[in-house]
Amino acid sequence: MATTTGVLARPTSYSGVWSWLTTVDHKRIGVLYGATAFIFLLIAGLEAGVLRAQLARPNSTIVDGQTFNAMFTMHATTMIFMAIMPMSVAFFNFVVPLAIGARDVAFPRLNAFSYWVFLFGALLMHTSFLVGQIPDAGWFSYANLTSRTFSPEAGLDFWAIGLLVMGASSVAGALNFTVTIINMRAPGMSLWRMPVFIWMTLLTSILLVLAFPVITVGLIELTMDRNFGTNFFNTSAGGDPVLWQHLFWVFGHPEVYILILPAMGIVSEILPTFSKKPLFGYPVVIFSGIVIAIMGWAVWSHHMFTVGLGPVANSVFTITTMLIAVPTGVKIFNWIGTMWGGSLEFKTPMLFAIGFIALFIVGGLSGVSHAVSPSDFQQQDTYYIVAHIHYVLFGGSIFGIFAGIYYWFPKLTNRMLGEGLGKWHFWLMFIGMNITFFPMHFAGLDGMPRRIYTYPVGYGWEVYNLLSSLGYVLLFVGFVMFVHNIFHSLKKGQVAGHDPWDAPTLEWSISSPPPEYNFAEIPHVRGLDHYWIVKREARAAGQPVPGPEPHAAPGSVHMPSPSYWPLVTAFGVVWIGGGMLIDVGWDYIKFPISFVGGLIAFIGVVGWANEPASAPDAHHGGHEAGHGAAH
């Protein structure tokens, strides 16, 4: 059966390149997401380097305005859609099934499909560099700068279609994780026994599923305006550029929570572990997350206070925005309460988690200051906003992600990341981050607009900018140390064992790296912090703490088989988008070329639908996915 559904025999190998191309194992897909996103993080970081080099001194001519525009546009777009989001998805993939006691996600092939669409979509957007027409209208690409008249080159088509493609990937992934978390929890794991990270993943996924269609419509309207002569944002035909702003920010504000909630989840796992006491006020943290996810839909116009929506709209959105700061503040008190009176262990994950809290407080406070619309009139489009967004997304999301990498790396590889290098990394990042971004508050309040590619002497912005650029150097060194730490620890790191942190959640009860099937026997969850309960009882009874769960007999656990159909389908889907970008001087060639992509995707879907999830004749169990991941 399995061999008759495709041209090629169904892949059965679990090592080598082919095994990575056809994998449906959530842990391997998590590694693919993480590695890809990290490369894009470095690219975006280098783009920021160009910006900081140019702005270090006044009247600088290192790059021209056009290059500067392209660099800040791609820096932000890459950071948000190709680094932080997929990095969070890497954690969803690796951690969620392990922490809810499942053997995989609900739809393993859909999961692989999401990754390949993301990868191809990101590459598609970056081909704009090859043709020298790089997106250059900012990460929110306001109309009508984006019209053909003002942006005649193809850069914005690459931007819009690249984002459409990656949006499809995000929605597919989010659907998968929503179903997985709702439907695949181990027996005994009620909603109120789910680790906070799982809760935040669920909320993030729901936000993704509902927010992305809105930006999809905006991007489609933009693409049609640019390519098919529609009038959505064409003022001369009565179109309204403010519609783009509404569509963008109705998506854009929930997107902010899509970027930060996973990091909040990670931090909520790490703080209790390294404080040796349960999370303070677990239900309150969860409720705060739910409130944020709901209220996040009612604040979008705080990005538009200076557009002229009128006093009523500005007042309403001021109030809702100040209200949403309440559940966020509540979480911060919960985290502090968790550490209060705990026996704190300042390992690297904990340092990054505490750094997250400190920096997020600064970002949250500046956020409240531009929630007040009269105050925002002063801050709109200045470096004050740039400072704010980097405190919440760099100090927040990226610090949370690094905390998570240090925390779960031992589970993935059975090696510890070096503590010494880790501490250097943390302090360089923490100090570098503050030197880079704190002066931006002052530059902004002194009137420095964002997005300018150079500035004259005499406005008093020189010192702030020089400091920011010097801070970048520290961040750069910090990143180099981190990369070195990863490669060094993979080979020579201290062996971690299954539970190096004495952690409370299920994933630490199995061996490191986890076997392909995760759990030989699906655990029965006895409460929040299940593994702590188990260990505490063993200690109380004077027994040794149980070791990792023994591996299953080879072949005894039936797992989904590898498949190449997700790769084929993803390739077809992205080709549809790529076809729309073909420019050979004759527009109608786009349709047949896109149609070929549609055909490939259709063949992929048919092959996929006719292929059983697990090949009946395949050998199962016994091989360990983590080995491939680690070495």
Binding site: T178, N183, V214, A237, L243
Partner: protein, 220 residues
């Protein structure tokens, strides 16, 4: 749970809901937001076109009422197809699936006719004015959804012809039905807003949206 994707297994899930059914429901929620944004765009630009043709000039409400009725009938046929699948009525499965697909196809035929008369005959193209842009985009996206649904139904019909549909595979039909009914409901909303309520819209002045003369910055 290792058989996550295997449709024909009775699987234990935390909630008791089937994975694929849950996925479909959440996806429909997502699709609601897509149509919500498209419809919002249409409503924001209602009566804002500077040049004609306007809805009042070209919308043919009687004809579209017929095509709406056809689509409603297809939802009835879909219900029958699922009922026949659950009763293992092999002849009924094929007849009702084919009927659903054909009715959907007829609806698409009406849409092609509508697009053709609006554009070639009446001169409303996608770039003519805001009405053209919003109308063709909104109804075009709905038409694309119907087309996908017809392809899905025809695929099911082929499976049914091989005798592979029955009570144990009723979920395959049910999922297509969920999608089909959703697309149908979206059309009811579009028909109400665009045709029944907005069908008499004219230009900006007549609709009372702009009072006074059209600002002179706009090209005449």
């Amino acid at each position: 749970m290792a058989h996550a994707e295997t449709a024909h297994h009775a699987e234990a899930t935390t909630t008791g809901l089937n994975h694929r059914k849950l996925l479909m429901w959440i996806f429909l929620g997502s699709d609601c937001m897509l149509f919500g944004a498209l419809i919002a765009t249409y409503m924001v630009y209602r009566g804002q076109s500077i040049v004609g043709p306007y809805p009042v000039d070209i919308l043919n409400i009687p004809v579209t009422t017929i095509s709406t009725f056809v689509l409603l009938c297809s939802s009835f046929a879909m219900v029958q197809a699922l009922a026949a699948t659950n009763r293992n009525n092999q002849r009924g499965i094929k007849i009702w699936l084919l009927a659903t697909a054909l009715l959907g196809f007829t609806f698409l035929g009406f849409q092609v006719y509508e697009f053709y008369t609006f554009s070639v005959v009446e001169g409303l193209f996608i770039g003519t004015n805001l009405f053209g842009s919003t109308f063709f985009t909104l109804t075009g996206f709905h038409g694309a959804h119907v087309t996908l649904g017809v392809v899905w139904l025809v695929s099911l019909f082929i499976v049914a012809f091989k005798g592979r549909l029955g009570p144990s595979t009723a979920l395959d039909v049910e999922l297509a039905g969920l999608y089909w009914h959703f697309v149908d409901i979206v059309w009811i909303v579009i028909f109400t807003l665009v045709y029944l309520i907005g069908g008499y819209d004219a230009g900006p002045v007549a609709a009372g949206v702009l009072t006074g003369p059209i600002p002179s910055v706009l090209p005449v």
